[in-house]
């Protein structure tokens, strides 16, 4: 007789109305004041990120970043809400904890591609205001990776709320220097291998903006 056992499935999703996203995946960031959680509903669960609204300047940056399609997920809040709310992909995770990945291949998103895309994206952030803007704090917590992307889909995005981390770049620094310093501190020797890719990403973004 066959044993009538439950089918081989992942653990049942939590039945609690809310559930914090696991720390490996969580895009909650103290500097932003954001929370990352699953909202469970009988019809399915959604992952949302919330954070408080800010002053007019920051809101302007936010609108600009969203228009440039740099921010992860879809904003759903309106002007009556006290918080910004973003519905984000379940698989998104912060760059911070990712281990090195050097696999070469069209469908392998390795460190070379990652730092190239990161450079391209951070170069676009620079132009969010008339004065060049850079991200303070850990870049790894301000940037999200979406896993298992399909053709022509992007894998890197800014975490919702990143506009609260923007500061004006010091006049005696170039953006590449600023980020090379920050990423060197965060990723150590691993970043040394990716530094050229980051510079190439910046260069390509500048080239595209001039065109």
């Amino acid at each position: 007789m066959n044993v009538p056992a439950p089918h081989n499935r992942l653990p049942e999703r939590s039945t609690r109305p809310e559930q914090d996203t696991g720390l490996r995946f969580s895009l909650a960031y103290d500097l932003i004041g954001s929370r990352d959680r699953f909202i469970n509903h009988p019809s399915g669960s959604s992952r949302i990120i919330t954070y408080p609204k800010d002053d007019e300047r920051t809101e302007r940056f936010r609108d600009s970043l969203i228009r440039s399609e740099l921010v992860l997920g879809n904003p759903t809040s309106d002007e009556n809400d006290t918080e910004h709310i973003f519905v984000v992909p379940r698989s998104a995770r912060p760059l911070s904890y990712d281990a090195v990945s050097q696999t070469e291949g069209n469908y392998s998103y390795n460190d070379g591609k990652l730092f190239y895309d990161l450079g391209y994206m951070l170069a676009q952030v620079l132009r969010v205001d008339e004065e060049p803007q850079v991200i303070r704090g850990d870049v790894g917590h301000a940037v999200a990776i979406v896993e298992f992307t399909q053709r022509n889909e992007r894998a890197l995005f800014l975490a919702p709320g990143v506009e609260r981390l923007l500061i004006t770049l010091e006049p005696d620094q170039t953006p590449v220097e600023y980020y090379a310093d920050a990423l060197g501190r965060e990723f150590g020797i691993r970043f040394k291998a990716g530094e050229i890719a980051l510079q190439a990403g910046f260069a390509k973004a500048e080239q595209d903006s001039e065109a």
Binding site: V3, N8, G22, L23, F25, S91, Y109, F148, R151
Partner: protein, 362 residues
């Protein structure tokens, strides 16, 4: 005959890798060519029978006797009844960071069926010179995946298998999009400040419990408990994947020595994967203890092994069989000694770390 739609022109936007053969792309194109040759999509008829000592092997024997070789066919699990026999028409690959250390070159994407169903999957290719060996390995992965679910452990859900009598076969599981393997995590800062990383400790706590359940529920061994074969989801569930080499049997081994043969290889590999560097060749590790000083045996106990022991003891007690409990306790004694020796005599010298004070470990 369905015509395979080719979804894989090289991605110029992504392809800034150095030149050279792209084995991953070759594997994906081979899979698409295989799909193009397929003539049928059928539900699997042969199921696991847990009256057998090793249900997976019995099921494979029956497939090889009654279903192999058949015309090239995708056979899918009855849980995927929405496929409804619809022909497989194409495959859209997906890009990923995780799963790249798989020995078999697993790749990810969506299967497209003629009835409009798109199914996100992970595809694991098997290739041997002898097509029958290929079929055996492919079926082993598929049926072991089902068997693991039957004994009550969480893992990825097997979708089916593709066999066409050639040297290559494919085992397919449902793609869990929030899944990442533990070798995608940077563990370099975890030890020795374990208490500062509760999320990481929670992962190892779950891994310890899952391993203990596996070894308590019968004559079971994963056989490749490396970091690449452990996974974590966004909801914080950690579990094992990749059961291709496993033995899954609900029969309890009668003696401690036999139990040890199932548990020791898994925990030895678990220990190795925690010690070796992510850059080690040919078998990369997670790098938790690599380059670290201190009492690594005690660290292994703190991170995962004490939890494992606790669950093993609890489950042996709960089974209510005194003789069995005695054998389990005897097994766990030998297991501790063997693992401690393995850490002291094999791993620590390989890591070129100073010997820790053995007297303190007694």
């Amino acid at each position: 005959m369905p015509v395979g739609r080719n979804y894989t022109p090289p991605l110029e936007a992504l392809n800034n890798a150095s030149s050279g053969a792209d084995r991953e792309l070759e594997r994906i194109r081979a899979f698409e060519r295989t799909i193009g040759r397929f003539v049928g999509t059928h539900e699997t008829e042969i199921q696991l029978d847990f009256n057998d000592w090793v249900p997976t092997n019995s099921a494979i024997d029956r497939v090889m006797t009654y279903e192999y070789p058949t015309p090239p066919t995708l056979r899918y699990d009855p849980a995927f009844s929405e496929i409804d026999g619809s022909p497989l028409e194409g495959f859209s690959p997906r890009s990923a960071r995780g799963g790249k250390n798989s020995r078999h070159g697993v790749f990810f994407g969506d299967l497209h069926f003629r009835n409009g169903l798109d199914l996100p999957v992970a595809v694991k290719p098997y290739e041997e010179e002898d097509p029958k060996k290929t079929a055996w390995s492919t079926l082993k992965d598929y049926y072991n995946g089902l068997a693991v679910g039957h004994i009550g452990l969480y893992s990825l859900q097997p979708v089916g298998h593709l066999l066409d009598g050639s040297k290559t076969g494919y085992s397919i599981t449902l793609l869990e999009e929030t899944l990442t393997t533990l070798d995608s995590i940077d563990w370099s800062n975890y030890y020795p400040n374990i208490g500062a990383h509760p999320g990481m400790s929670n992962i190892w706590s779950q891994i310890g419990r899952q391993a203990a359940m596996l070894h308590s529920l019968g004559a079971n061994t994963h056989w490749d408990m490396a970091g690449r074969n452990m996974a974590e989801t966004a909801e914080d569930y950690a579990f094992f994947i990749d059961w291709e080499s496993s033995v899954i049997s609900p029969v309890q081994p009668p003696q401690a020595e036999m139990r040890f043969e199932f548990s020791f290889p898994d925990l030895k590999e678990l220990m190795r994967t925690m010690c070796f560097s992510p850059y080690a060749q040919p078998e990369a590790g997670l790098g938790i203890f690599h380059g670290k000083n201190g009492d690594l045996w005690q660290a292994f106990r703190d991170v995962v092994f004490d939890e494992y022991l606790g669950v093993r003891e609890d489950m042996a007690t709960a089974a209510g069989d005194k003789a069995q409990r005695t054998e389990v306790m005897s097994e766990l004694d030998v297991l501790q000694g063997s693992l401690r020796n393995y850490m002291r005599e094999k791993l620590e010298p390989m890591l070129q770390l100073p010997k820790t004070d053995v007297v303190n470990q007694a």
